[in-house]
Amino acid sequence: MPITLTERAAAHVSSFLAKRGKGVGLRLGVRTTGCSGLAYKLEFADAVNPEDHTFDSHGVKVLVDPKSLPYIDGTELDFAREGLSEGFKFKNPNVKDACGCGESFNI
């Protein structure tokens, strides 16, 4: 299953990358940490690693390392606004339960 970005998320990522002035795309991943075991990684990517899985969504190159992929396979990344706050949201079909804040999860 591919990793995708909503159109809105892709537009924001593209504009952030343009303002940053460098970078090949967006890196998604997971780390084992946090109150529910796993946490998302959301970073600018300056280089593609040979082992990376790459996806292309609305013109944004999305990189995922092979260890992370099983945990986020099929994820859609959205950009949302909640009140004054704005940022990215993982819609991850693999998640069984997440901590209240949504910053960490397990499957």
Partner: protein, 620 residues
């Protein structure tokens, strides 16, 4: 569900470990809050999408307050309790405030700082500023979804200790942890300099609503150094409004206005000024409370003409800062424009003419300071990649020193030294057996204490009784990154120490800083002579004291003729020390020195003999 931000490669924060830090531009007219998100500095808007928070607070009788746009609307109705441009009052006394007569406020001359009587009680400028900061803090916390670890708050480069302290107090009152106070032009340079990574000498011309600041900065390999600053803390866009306001009163031949009409016409003046930035013609029309209608045509050229002197007023401090830095306009690689008032075309043109180049204005002049502060806050909160650290240097506006004998100033830290700075200097006792020393900290450029500003006094006790000049007292001046001074003194042999943190309760007005600087240039010659005279007088006193003491002790070592000779020299020196010719005093001192030469030799021989008598060589 938390909303995530994109991090730099390898720097995804652990869950619940995000360190939110903001930059706050606490402006005279408008305030802003900014943060770095997804690697980019941006302004945090309010619910309606406004980036600016008008720096206006209204106090109601029931104790509630309204802030920003809400207060701005209510201002015309309730000018007395609606505080605008409160920054002008920070750390200031009543005497320092311009246009008191046109101000609708009921001022109370509080201790140290002016206060304002409102429907909700007497409020200090610190409390009013805290309301604005609190509003921005809440906006930031709601935007970032968590508590702030801290904020960088900007202040004009010319703010003195009292004004900086007042700003820090206001932030604390608003529940903000101040990571650092940063001068506004420096923040602007961060926003421009780092984004464009350009090295060289830059000038920052910041004409805000209420203050003018001009700074000369050197940007090199990631280090910012402020070479010189100058400005006028009582000049800004508000003065252009005020000029227009006065013009309207004059033209329409209006009788003294009610407070409400005053506010109405002030707001109208600002509107017309802004309109004339992009239009050649405008009409000044307003309907007063009495029903009387004001309707006046005004062209851009007329407006430029009537405010030309205000633009010219910014150019004098500009040239002065360049002189201070030892630079000419040709050395300046770029001029950064900051502050909404720099949008006025005639301001842009005057700056372009002075520097013979088009000024940099590609960032929004209203936002650039807050953006730079946000970048600094992000770095200080530890959110920056390793190896990208940068140091920020600021300067002190007036020299700091100590009073020495004769009312002279010994400067310890010189004007325009970069901050933070610590400097130690050794002083000694003036009298035999002196066991305490009074330390008087002063600020200014003149040679005499009476011409400088007194900042603090404290005493060092427990100096071991020694002959004059033998004790070693190390006095350390320390100015932190926020520009606040601490002075400590330590006697090196006994370790006795005393210290004071200088928190002046009352600030220096900008006019006074300017006057003190100007005086120091004008009186340079006088000061030099006065210093030479005072130095000789002090030396004469010291000499007379020690000769008198010696005569009392060891007169037996002299024959009658020698005794009379020394006496004559002593009397001559005592008389000459009263006159104001430092050369005459010097020659009398030399004379007494010669006359007592052999006496001093005999005394020394005798004390050596005394010390050795009855002791074997091995025992020494």
């Amino acid at each position: 569900m938390a909303l995530l931000q994109i991090s730099e490669p390898g720097e995804s924060p652990a869950p619940h470990q995000r360190r939110h830090a903001v930059g706050i531009d606490l402006g005279t007219t408008n305030s802003l809050v900014a943060t770095v998100r997804n690697g980019i500095a941006g302004i945090l808007n309010d619910e309606q999408g406004h980036p600016l928070l008008p720096s206006i607070v209204r106090f109601r009788a029931d104790g509630s307050v309204s802030v920003g746009y809400e207060a701005e609307i209510e201002r015309a109705r309730d000018p007395k309790n609606t505080i605008v441009s409160v920054k002008r009052f920070m750390g200031r006394g009543l005497r320092d405030i311009a246009h008191v007569e046109n101000s609708p406020y009921d001022f109370v001359n509080g201790p140290g700082m002016v206060q304002i009587r409102t429907a909700a009680g007497v409020k200090s400028p610190v409390e009013v500023s805290a309301v604005l900061l609190q509003e921005l803090r809440v906006r930031a916390e709601r935007s970032l979804g968590g508590e702030l670890v801290g904020a960088v708050v900007t202040v004009p480069a010319y703010f003195d200790d009292a004004q900086r302290q007042a700003t820090k107090d206001a932030a604390a009152l608003a529940g903000l942890n101040v990571l650092r106070l940063l001068s506004e032009p420096t923040a602007a340079a961060i926003a421009y300099g780092l984004d464009n990574a350009a090295e060289g000498i830059y000038a920052v011309y910041d004409l805000g609503g209420g203050t003018f600041d001009f700074s000369v900065l050197r940007l090199s390999t990631g280090v910012f150094e402020v070479l010189a600053t100058s400005g006028d803390a009582a000049l800004g866009g508000d003065d252009f409004d005020h000029r227009l306001f006065c013009w309207a009163l004059e033209k329409a031949k209006l009788a003294p206005l009610s407070a409400g009409d005053n506010t109405l016409l002030s707001a109208k003046s600002r509107e017309i000024k802004e309109y004339l930035t992009h239009h050649a013609e405008a009409r000044f029309n307003a309907k007063l409370g009495s029903g009387e209608v004001v309707d006046l045509p005004l062209s851009q050229a007329e407006f430029w003409e009537m405010t030309r002197h205000l633009v010219a007023k910014t150019l004098a401090p500009t040239r002065k800062a360049l002189r201070d830095a030892g630079l000419s306009v040709a050395d300046v690689k770029g001029v950064v424009m900051v502050g909404g008032a720099t949008r006025m075309p005639h301001v842009q043109r005057a700056v372009a003419e002075l520097f013979a180049q088009a000024p940099l204005n590609n960032l929004d002049p209203d936002k650039v300071v807050a953006l730079g502060a946000a970048m600094q806050a992000n770095a200080l909160a530890g959110n920056r990649a390793a190896g990208e650290d940068w140091l920020l240097l600021d300067v002190i506006p007036l020299s700091l020193g100590l009073e020495t004998m004769g009312g002279l100033v010994e400067r310890v830290i010189h004007r325009n030294s970069t901050l933070p700075v610590a400097r130690a200097q050794e002083f000694t006792t003036f009298k035999d057996g002196q066991s305490a020393m009074s330390i008087h900290v002063v600020q200014g450029e003149r040679e005499l204490v009476s011409d400088c500003r007194s900042l603090a006094r404290f005493e060092l006790h427990g100096i071991p009784p020694l002959v004059a000049g033998a004790a070693r007292i190390k006095v350390t001046f320390q100015v932190d990154a926020d520009g606040l001074l601490a002075v400590s003194a330590q006697e090196t042999s006994s370790g006795a120490q005393a210290s004071v943190a200088v928190k002046p309760s009352y600030g220096l007005s900008d006019e006074r800083i300017t006057r003190m600087l100007r005086d120091s240039f004008e009186h340079a010659g006088d000061d030099l002579r006065t210093r030479a005279l005072r130095e000789q007088q002090v030396e004469a006193q010291r000499m007379l004291q020690s000769v008198e003491a010696a005569l009392e002790q060891d007169a037996a070592l002299l024959d009658a003729a020698e005794f009379a000779g020394i006496r004559a020299c002593v009397n001559s020196l005592r008389t000459k020390a009263q006159c104001d010719d430092h050369r005459a005093i010097k020659s009398a001192i030399d004379e007494l020195n010669r006359a007592t030469e052999s006496f001093a030799g005999r005394r020394m021989d005798r004390s050596v003999q005394e010390a050795l008598t009855g002791r074997s060589v091995a025992g020494i």
